[in-house]
Symmetry: D3
């Protein structure tokens, strides 16, 4: 008798019970103001993940042996309904968190990040956020939409308050956003300078890690909605992630891959490798 066709990110084939991490896809891009398509990211990442190895020569660890990940597939989200979609993501996160596991969301657009941050902030009132991105994402609203992907870090600030968000790699935004940031969050322009000090301060605290892949230079990752020149290299990002290994990470997301603008497939290959490094870095 033949078996059902189970599809996962490579080597993320543990059972739900034994899993430390629960990875799932959030195919949603309705508020994307420039070029949509991040809805295709999680599906493409799964199938292309079989082009990378499970072993990391950087960390000398292997997804098969050193990580326990359950891949729950994709949520079926309601296009065009931001508010209800955020509720759907909250429900998903709540299940995983209440089972004592770490949620790993594969976006989809960045706006979704406020949902797991909301859920986790209820469990961990002292939650902090590490944020790697090209864009500030600090608009109060975008054309009147408060749930736009251009407003997501502002929404996280609504939840967490001043001083809890630590942004790195930021190189694009409105003038007002950069000036507002100076008083309300920690914002490092262009690169990862100061990351070690931040890690030192956050040790022991619960931390959510949100990665907008467009922090990478578009030469490394052209497949994203709003390519923004002047970004970090793959090795800089990989090294920055490895520095987070001593933190108490309680939730993760990897957002904004847009595969239809990735004609060579190399952006997706980068995303897969970064996800592997993240899972191996934070596995215990």
């Amino acid at each position: 008798m033949l078996k059902e066709n189970r599809v996962t990110f490579i080597a993320c084939d543990k059972t739900y019970e034994e899993a430390e991490f629960v990875l799932w896809g959030a195919p949603f891009d309705s508020t994307t103001s420039f070029r949509p398509g991040t809805r295709f990211a999680s599906g493409t990442i799964r199938s292309e993940s079989f082009g990378i190895e499970t072993y990391s020569p950087y960390l000398d660890k292997d997804l098969n042996e050193d990580a326990k990940v359950f891949d729950a597939g994709d949520l079926e989200l309601i296009f065009g309904e931001s508010v209800r979609v955020l509720e759907q993501v909250k429900e998903m996160t709540a299940i995983i968190v209440s089972d004592g596991k770490i949620p790993v969301m594969i976006g989809g657009e960045h706006s979704l990040t406020s949902a797991p941050v909301h859920v986790l902030s209820e469990k961990f009132p002292d939650l902090e956020v590490i944020h790697f991105d090209a864009h500030t994402d600090l608009r109060e609203d975008y054309l009147g939409n408060r749930w736009s992907h251009a407003s997501v870090i502002k929404r996280c600030h609504d939840i967490l308050g001043d001083g809890k968000i630590h942004s790195f790699g930021i190189r694009s935004g409105e003038k007002e956003e950069f000036y507002w940031a100076k008083e309300h969050i920690h914002l490092q322009r262009f690169n990862f300078d100061g990351l070690e000090e931040t890690v030192e301060c956050l040790k022991g605290k619960p931390v959510y890690f949100t990665l907008d892949l467009d922090v990478l230079d578009p030469s490394i990752l052209p497949g994203t909605g709003t390519p923004e020149a002047g970004g970090v290299t793959f090795d800089e990002l990989r090294f920055a992630i490895s520095k987070l290994s001593e933190l108490n990470i309680v939730g993760i997301d990897v957002m904004e891959l847009s595969p239809h603008y990735d004609h060579s497939g190399s952006s997706t290959a980068v995303a897969c490798k970064i996800i592997r490094e993240i899972l191996l870095t934070f596995s215990k």
Copy 2:
């Protein structure tokens, strides 16, 4: 002194005052359930329209001489907020209609059609709709969203009631939609059979014409969100449009071109030519 850079669909450069038709773009695709990208249609159609001629050898008429069209550019719509976007489209339509001109909307996704139908039905209580499409678009809702592009003809029926909608070319939908249609609208499967009789019945009445470009076979128009094999040819569509010339058309839309899936540019060229034929057919 140099002039400002005015950009229009080819030869649609009349003043607002002298115009019979007002064309505008509605770049919105947030409820699109499969592949987004119709937001790029109106901009691409304008720039590529300079690849076609203003003269139609089919009709022996020329956009320069035989049509008075003002191109108002694109609306700036709020991604991810269907309900508010429909309000924006209603406002635009209301201005044009109150000035005694005929609105011509270039989509964008099909969900927007309910907005001008709503506005026009207030001015013309006996409004009828001619609908060319591959899909029924008759779902009550799609994953709970009543304003989805898969529900737009159902929303028009909410406004107009039984017997006022005349669909042609339909070749895809849920079983329930096809069965529901039998009792509430006129639905011609696969082709334009019966169009002449319909036109005969509708003479003198105010008619809205909504064209979902995916009524064309994907070999003719691959650049659309949900390509659906078994469609009509360019000549069949062109000929069907010409049959509508005796109707009292009070509003028009041309929807669902998705240029990023049109790598050869031929889908956009088809859309431009169809828009030219529509404008020349209905110009007085």
Copy 3:
């Protein structure tokens, strides 16, 4: 607790026990002489199948209600080793056939067809083959490789002997192949003329149906390794398949979609719709 991520062709989610058909993917293209890439077909077909409806307005039947199909996922085939791959496909077919179910292989390149034909000919010594294709596929070998996709119908003839193969739509091949065909198989050039008579003759006999999607015109299905102008339309193919409904079909394959040459996605959408029509046509 969350469920595993099961992935199937749309609505092919029955259990193995209750299934009448077992569908699986055969991602192999190592002998392809011109442009490879059919290895990507089965995976792409599954994910894109959610863009079509489960209901066929042509047949008034629905995959959810009227077909019992189990999707077994993809075989993991050994690239570069034709002979061993054919063994792998034979094993898969043998399991399904011995369980009294009908195998439905999604290629991959056409060379694989000889494997299920071999297995089924042992169970059904009077097996006949209906073959829709653009190409003769009757070379004794291709550069010395007898298992090339250009030789597959010749290999089927080795198994079945004269008069058992019925080819339609053929419009490309070497001169020798066309002349050889006249004495050994039934070959209809360019179209489906004579299909009804063939069906009449084959009634009651066990029949294998092999569909090389390049029988379609490249305007309908550009996404294939060797596009061959002058092919049949979607409606001609759909109608030809419906004519086979009275046959005793014991095995099926649908081969040679090459998604990386299908930039608009319309070839894959055609393939999905054809597979739906095939499953609904042959379901009892």
Copy 4:
């Protein structure tokens, strides 16, 4: 000892001395007003020609046995210098014609056609032209450039005078061009109606055959600079060419394939097959 790498259109590998036809590429597109790229046609056609068969099942003839063609490679043309490029093409044609062979030019943009027509009209003062195209190409000039591809048939008329040009399939142009044509050339709109009568009239006379591939519908041949909906099918074109077999063809060109807009490769495959049919039709 290894041989040099000779590259030809498939089976066009005869010596110059024994050849009846001399085929060459003219990679030039500097006057193209919309989308350039036909410069890539001849190179791409040669390499992709190995994807078709040498045998035509339509004509039961084979390029290996039934045609004697020498492929002279590509001319190196001076981009941006229309007048000098036309001189280069005239020189090439003159060599071939003076050696009693038939020139077969693979474009490149259509503007080049006036060069071989000029050369051949000197040898054959009663030269007639058969012209298949989507566009009239009858502008006196395009933005002041008399050698534009939009003016090429007007330039041929300058050479040949009234009544010598026979255009078919025309479906795009300025109003003035269509009206001018009525008095000076034979112009059949949209299709090949009347071709048989034309062939009857031209029997015995020297005829130049110029084929702008955009006469085909863009669904068949999207890879061209100015796709123009409403064109002929592959079978209609193939059949029209076969009707020309009784004419005394003294020169041929096949123009306006633009491979970079042909992402699936099917446009190039169509062009290759049409060239095969042309060579086999006119071979003696």
Copy 5:
């Protein structure tokens, strides 16, 4: 009443009278020897410019507040007629210069640069040129065409004489060009070494700045006609431009983006960001 559709580069919407800079597009690529398509650059740059921010975090300046730019749209240039096109560009430049404004040309191919240099050298006899490029562009002619894009810097030298041209980033050319350069211009291979000294020398003099975007590495900007590996990074280019801020810039061009080879859109995004930085750097 609705307004006309004015289209500009983002925030370049000042009136002609108040503008300090006049930006316009020069869609011409007829002499391009390898891959054409720069004709599409200016149109694409305008529409994609809405994907970047008006604010530069590098310069802490904003296009809305800190720059006065009028966008005059595109010139309609005569394809295939280099000499006449250069006259058209000269006329455009002369208008702007005589109105005391700074011309900013968006190419188009590099050959056009000699036109504004010619016009400006008449007003400023001591004009110097800063030239960033991958290629020497110093051929006397290319296949006999003196106005080719491969000869443009040689043409500028014809106008300006020895020692007035300062090239940086050069990594490709004929041997003779590199040797000739040693005696007639300042040419820095591969990078921007020595730029500060050059700026020091040129202070107070009128300077034309011509930027061939292929000075960037193809990983940063693949969308160009002749990608040339080994180029500078985005940050290196941005920093080099900022060093020019103290110069008396009297004319600017940004050339050779070819959007049809930029499938991810990231090359265009880079070009937009560079144009923003240039406008903000040189605004007073």
Copy 6:
């Protein structure tokens, strides 16, 4: 009389007799496990090589004057038959080697490298291999296929034994491969550290140089079957090659370009430039 159409890599047009190097193409990719397409590399490299210059400003040498290369065109290899294809490549290499010339193979997939290594090891029993690659390629077999491209360096080790292979740039592979490598070959992870010492050791010995182009970062060379982030830059690779100039190179290959994933053409341009640098570096 016109000449035959000889096609070579730019300036590789010497006669076989006078040549020091013999370059040929090996279009084979049947064992490629992820994305095929390297079969298209050699043909594309030849035609695109005319976009680069023959002169290297890095080496101040020119292909026309400083290198004697004969281009023998492509082998016609048997798809799907690894073992026989390796025999074909061995035969080709043997001819060239026996004529005292240096073979330069343009792949095609990396599996072919074992063929020239086998031939050369018979002539030079003390042969060493310099190997630049992203991947270990040290699997004993891949799904049972010992001749897979994932096993090629293991096959070379079968021939040469311990300590003769020197791998650089390796950043992907199975854990077992990395551990096995420690005892049997020299493997430098990620970069070219230690290359100078290796060169010092190998001076005077016969050395085969095999370059898998995916050693480059995918931002530089996206057009390859398995893009692997974190690679070397163009300048790092170019500099590493220049360091090899003092070695006694007896054979060369350049493998794994996959042009159909190189939509901008920049990967092919990189490959051409690297081949030029290699030929100029090793020419005497």
